[in-house]
């Protein structure tokens, strides 16, 4: 049996705002095997960043994890206290490359010190040792070790992104979450960063959880894909299945909306309407107001989770039919 590095079960993260409860992540489950990479795709506001923050137990208030389990390496972190998460889990087992990494660095400290900081606090290294170690990681991400003495403003966008990646790796976590790691970068630099992530994934055997709205980036890196819509995972499966035989109407529409550089220049499709307000999502299937195939039942009852294959599941009434008929 394969060993799971990450198991998420029925995770719910809600934001308690004055205007009502925003269900950012609503009943999300998935498992990740060791060394496997996951891509999470979805439009802005679908809850993908909230999911990422939940995995680190870093949900900003008024958000809170209200239910479910996050099991990392056999330990459920939802039940742990903050100090325990900080000393045992965060950055050691799971770390993160934040969105807009250019602004994630502190402008008044040298790159080297910022990189070395986790080593000093978590592993008790002296400052000198820690900086030596930091140099190794800078080399690993393709930067010159001399950069330790530089300040962030002296580096280009691509270099800063590399530094932030090195920072996420420095305590050797098994899981690295990358939240839109390339959105602010130019295509050439983006390709270089993706190559770097691919290389690290192979050499260090880490699991990367890649969060992006751009499906073409996921195709470059992930083994499995989770497509999120309005706080729920609507389709989950291996990369090839999702890209070649997408089942959920939302996934299909997303794939058709990407302008492609090569191949035929067919007319692009798009998804009409806007994502729902997560304070009070539409009844039944949350996607039904924008769905081409919406049926009566979609408007009334939430769709079932249908396993088309052991590793490919979809949340949609289109595929629920057979199952329902056989039951009744």
């Amino acid at each position: 049996m394969a060993k799971y590095v990450l198991e998420v079960e029925h995770l719910k993260t809600y934001y308690y705002t004055y205007k009502g409860i925003v269900r950012g992540v609503d009943d999300v489950s998935f498992k990740l095997e060791e060394g496997e990479s996951l891509g999470i795709a979805g439009e802005s506001g679908c809850g993908k960043s909230t999911l990422a923050f939940s995995l680190l137990k870093l949900v900003p208030p008024p958000g809170r994890i209200v239910g479910g389990k996050i099991v990392i390496d056999g330990q459920d972190i939802v039940k742990m206290s903050e100090s325990e998460v900080r000393s045992k889990i965060r950055w050691k087992k799971i770390s993160m490359v934040f969105q807009g990494a250019m602004n994630a660095l502190n402008p008044v400290y040298t790159v080297g010190y910022q990189l070395a900081e986790p080593l000093i606090y978590h592993k008790g290294y002296s400052k000198k040792e820690a900086i030596e170690e930091a140099k190794k990681y800078l080399e690993m991400v393709g930067l010159a070790p001399e950069i330790v003495n530089r300040y962030p403003h002296e580096l280009s966008g691509g270099m800063k992104q590399r530094v932030v990646i090195a920072m996420a790796l420095i305590l050797r976590p098994k899981i690295v979450i990358a939240d839109e790691p390339t959105t602010a970068l130019d295509v050439v630099v983006q390709a270089q960063i993706l190559n770097l992530l691919k290389k690290l994934q192979r050499e260090l055997k880490i699991s990367i959880i890649l969060i992006t709205h751009d499906l073409s980036i996921i195709a470059e890196l992930a083994d499995k894909v989770a497509v999120m819509y309005a706080g729920k995972i609507v389709e989950f499966g291996p990369l090839d299945k999702i890209f070649l035989e997408p089942k959920h109407p939302y996934t299909q529409a997303l794939l058709k909306s990407i302008p492609r550089l090569r191949g035929s220049k067919e007319k692009l499709e798009w998804i009409p309407g806007t994502p729902p307000d997560l304070r009070n999502p539409p009844p039944g299937c949350r996607f039904h107001p924008r769905c081409k195939f919406a049926m009566d039942i979609c408007r009334k009852e939430p769709p079932p989770e249908v396993y088309l294959e052991p590793d490919h599941r979809v949340l949609c009434w289109l595929y629920g039919k057979e199952k329902r008929n056989s039951q009744g």
Binding site: V187, Q192, N195, S216, E220, D240, L255, P259, K265, T274
Partner: protein, 384 residues
């Protein structure tokens, strides 16, 4: 004065040559357009009388745009594509060069009444010869859609007020009712229906895609001919990009618009544009029709850009992407001598015989094949 000023041939000659080449369809021609931003000098530099330094954001570029086409400027951030777009419609003052634009006869008449010494010939007006304070009649024809739909709409204005403002400025629509009618029609044009409902909302009540539609409505409400679209979809989700692009195409057909479309995404450019110009560090390095440029790129930089675009193909994750380019973009304040791409060029390593030429002389943009222009020494052997 210094190198900043260019010696330009007389306007008549330039205009005649391009009219002969492009013919009837010519709408806009930028000739040796230049926008340099001065860098503030330190006290030491002033005292030692160092020459002033400049960021050469747009460095002597020449291109034409035909009526009814979508012309794309593609390049990495900082290559000067936005500056080019803004300089073209005089939101920034050009440092040098000519911009010939075929304006409507009534606009030319209006301008001539305001200012005597404008250059007008064959229906073309040189935008650089118009005094900035007398530019207003032309603003109706030259519009812009901004990149950021969140920052470009005044949060204290209702959508109706945002769209009404240009009408008031230009004195269109005498009564409130008349103006309201125009505003509602513009909202309908960009498919914000029902328009009555959207007109009284504030920008924060709209999604990103809807805001960008307001941005588009604001650009088309004065019935322009030429619109600079500055990365109109880069801040939007992939799922609604296609919708906005399709809307822009539809408006183009309906109102006979011409776009200068600025983007960093070649896939988007291929989808919406007729011709693409690739910019690198303030210079156009290649121009061709969209399909020709992507299927048959000539310049090493274009090749690298195309190789770098991610594709939604699951096979790719087993491979490393090879992007034939070295290093990083140099600063626009310290542009390398010769071909400005040479420090990053991979082709240069394969052709050592060109090294001297590439590192000392800047290549011009030449027509390599029919309407496929390239600025690279590789394609000029025996010609220089």
């Amino acid at each position: 004065m210094s190198k900043q000023q260019l010696k330009l041939p007389p306007r008549d000659e330039v205009l005649k040559a391009i009219e002969k080449k492009v013919g009837e369809k010519l709408l806009l021609y930028a000739y040796k357009l230049r926008k340099w931003f001065p860098i503030r000098r330190g006290i030491k530099e002033v005292l030692t009388r160092q020459p002033p330094r400049f960021v050469r954001a747009v460095d002597t570029i020449t291109f034409y745009i035909k009526e009814g086409e979508t012309f794309c400027l593609v390049g990495e951030s900082g290559c000067g594509k936005t500056t080019t777009g803004r300089t073209l419609i005089r939101l920034l003052e050009p440092t040098g060069g000519y911009i010939f634009y075929k304006a409507r006869p009534e606009t030319i008449k209006e301008i001539k009444e305001l200012q005597k010494n404008v250059y007008v010939k064959d229906g073309f007006i040189d935008l650089t010869s118009v005094n900035a304070k007398k530019f207003k009649p032309l603003r109706k024809e030259l519009q812009i859609i901004f990149q950021d739909p969140y920052g470009s709409l005044n949060p204290r204005f209702k959508i109706k007020d945002i769209l009404e403002e240009p009408l008031l400025v230009h004195g269109i629509g005498e009564t409130l009712e008349e103006r309201e009618k125009i505003v509602l029609k513009a909202l309908e044009d960009v498919k914000l229906t029902p328009p009555e409902e959207f007109a009284y909302r504030y920008p924060h009540m709209l999604s990103g895609g809807q805001r960008q539609r307001v941005g588009i409505a604001r650009a088309v409400i004065l019935n322009p001919r030429f619109i600079v679209a500055d990365e109109p979809v880069s801040m939007l989700d992939v799922s609604i990009r296609a919708e906005i692009l399709e809307l822009m195409n539809e408006l183009k057909r309906k109102y006979g618009l011409t776009y200068l479309f600025i983007t960093h995404d070649l896939a988007v450019a291929r989808y919406i544009c007729d011709r693409i110009a690739v910019m690198y560090l303030g210079k156009i390095v290649e121009v061709a029709s969209a399909d020709e440029l992507i299927d048959n790129p000539l310049h090493p930089y274009t090749k690298a850009l195309i190789a770098a675009v991610p594709e939604p193909d699951p096979e790719l994750r087993y491979k490393f992407k090879e992007v034939p380019i070295k290093g990083e973009v140099p600063s626009a304040a310290a542009i390398p001598p010769g071909c400005r791409f040479h420090p990053r060029c991979v082709a240069l390593d394969q052709h050592p015989e060109l090294r001297e030429q590439c590192t000392t002389v800047e290549p011009d943009l030449i027509e390599y094949e029919n309407e496929h222009y390239v600025a690279c020494w590789l394609y000029r052997r025996g010609q220089s």
